[in-house]
Amino acid sequence: MLTVKDLVKHFPLKAGRFSSSEEKIHALNGVSFTLGKKKTLGIVGESGCGKSTLAKAILGIKPPDSGSVLLSPADTRMQYIFQDPYLSLDPKMQVKDIITEPMRAAGMITKREVAREAERLLELVGLPKDWGTKYPHEFSGGQRQRICIGRAISSRPGIVICDEPVSSLDVSIQSQILNLLLELQEKLEISYIFIAHNIAVVLYMSDIVSVMYAGYIVESAAPQELYANPMHPYTRLLLSVVPEIGKNKRIFEQKITGEVPDLIHIEPGCPFYSRCPVHSDKCRTAIPQLKPGEKEDHSCTCWLYQ
């Protein structure tokens, strides 16, 4: 239902109107995946890995330089859930107008039906249905994120892109929102692209997980498989540093070398080369393609498995 092929997005580094710098930030370097109905694709990676650029390219907010985004005709509507619920609700609008805005814009309801639809949506996202006449500042962060979710699902989109939907919320609220998203997926048959930096959250939410690094998908697998048999050294690194309560993991003793990759001055070879504990000379010269490993549906871009 959603097929993304070879998305590339490079941002020119411009100092001003009259600058003629040729340098570019290589944010996306050819990303492909498919997403099925009622499925969740999880995307995990650190800052600068291109996960937000990917979301914006798919939505057309920042159209890609090349590559294609193909949607099945039934799912032309896509919606987006932002990271910060304090910034994504218009402070001067009543909640009932915010939550039904996509429906109004799509001509699905008239102004008269706003109040009734708002009640239905508020109930769906677990808020009291008579709160439609309140303003965003009267809500807490978690409640605001519920309103954002209500707005995103109101126009019955086929696909909702969630970009770090819980990372700005209080710890005790995060699991509420995650469970709400799962519940709505069951009820409304939505597909999600779930983007987060926390691999534990992505593993919990997804049907398939893609690990991104420096604008590439470096590994892709079902969450159980990825957790049990991580192939790419970067995935292993991510799993080794994610805090895990009750396991005495001593993440502060992990040996981690190198720095985040430079996306402006691109060198040939694997972008993870400088940080990779198992690199060989080959890694320096060329990037391997995303290739299926021994198991089906588990692919990885690493010379170790080519």
Binding site: S175, Q176, L203, N248, I251
Partner: protein, 328 residues
């Protein structure tokens, strides 16, 4: 025998906002021992940051540290009450005896000065060295926090640094005067997970080397289990639970601690197989009137007693808990 380096007694900090008074920290008492890492855990509105700003006497209008609060800091053989210090006396303590590092290192450096000069600045301010000596000392400090090419990087400006490198710089700056206490306010929250692990490692290493005490503030309970010696759990300005880190995590006594642990997603939990526990409700609003236990509304063990009156702290086997129905 560990000695107390800081003893906070009945700390209460109130913000007199235009529309209402908000009690950000409510009668909080705790001790900090030498050579220990004390983790302070809390969500928004828990008062964890305000507590530390109160210790540093950095609460501005309309906030006020209640005059009865005692913040006893060990000075030689005796203790001095930081809440009675004049601003001038506090200036000598801040950055010299007690240092702080923050979540956003970029906001803590002046963008117009070279990092090398800023890192050694506190040495100069506290009158220990000249500008040249301070710079040389800064170079040494940068090396100690493992900044590669430190002599070169000292010539850089803050915008040229990644978040992780800047956080290292800030740690170097905080360590310059060999403080007795380092207060780290969410120092890894803005960082990536790999960088977070590196910064935690650096903090642990420096703490072991210098023997300073660290107050580590975070919202992430999972980070501190093996990183810190003791844990304080704060909620809505009150202390809920206190104890040795490992005990608190493996045998939480307060329902809030237990719920928090259960609601954090762990790697190895999958959709369809596991269901993440979700705490109902929300964190109390600032200034919300709470008569009973602040967690009562969300607690599964809540009874009429919890709604009506606020439980006192009970102490047993080095553990403290504020709950009528604590797990044993």
């Amino acid at each position: 025998m560990k000695e107390k380096i800081l003893e906070v007694k009945n700390l209460t900090t109130i913000f007199h906002n235009v529309n209402q008074d908000v009690t950000a920290v409510d009668n909080l008492s705790f001790d900090l021992f030498s050579h220990e890492i004390l983790a302070m855990i809390g969500e928004s509105g828990s008062g964890k940051s305000v507590t530390n700003l109160s210790i540093m006497q950095l609460i501005d209008e309309p906030g006020e540290v209640a005059p009865g609060s005692r913040i006893l800091f060990r000075d030689g053989d005796g203790y001095i009450n930081l809440n009675r210090m004049t601003e001038k006396e506090m200036e000598r303590i801040r950055g010299d005896r007690i240092s702080m590092i923050f979540q956003e290192p970029s906001a803590s450096f002046n963008p117009l000065f070279k990092l090398g000069n800023q890192v050694g600045e506190s040495l100069r301010l506290h009158g220990q060295s000249t500008k040249e000596e301070a710079y040389q000392e800064a170079l040494k400090l940068l090396e100690q926090v493992h900044i590669p090419n430190s002599a070169l990087r000292a010539q850089d400006y803050p915008f040229q640094m990644s978040g992780g490198m800047l956080q290292r710089m800030m740690i170097a700056q905080a360590l310059a005067c060999h403080p007795d206490i380092l207060i780290a306010d969410e120092p890894t929250t803005a960082l990536d997970v790999t960088t977070q692990a590196q910064i935690l490692g650096l903090l642990k290493e420096k703490q072991a080397e210098t023997g300073m005490s660290v107050i580590f503030i975070t919202h992430d309970l999972a980070l501190v289990e093996d990183f810190s010696d003791r844990i304080l759990i704060l909620y809505a300005g009150s202390l809920m639970e206190e104890g040795p880190a490992r005990d608190v995590i493996s045998h939480p006594m307060h329902p809030y601690t237990q719920d928090l642990i259960r609601s954090i997603p762990k790697p190895g939990m999958f959709k369809g197989q596991d269901k993440l526990f979700a705490i109902p409700g929300k964190v109390p609003d600032p200034g919300e009137k709470i008569t009973g236990c602040p967690y009562a509304k969300r607690c599964s063990r809540c009874t009429a007693e919890c709604q009506a009156s606020r439980p006192d702290i009970t102490e047993k086997n080095g553990r403290k808990v504020r709950c009528f129905h604590a797990y044993s």
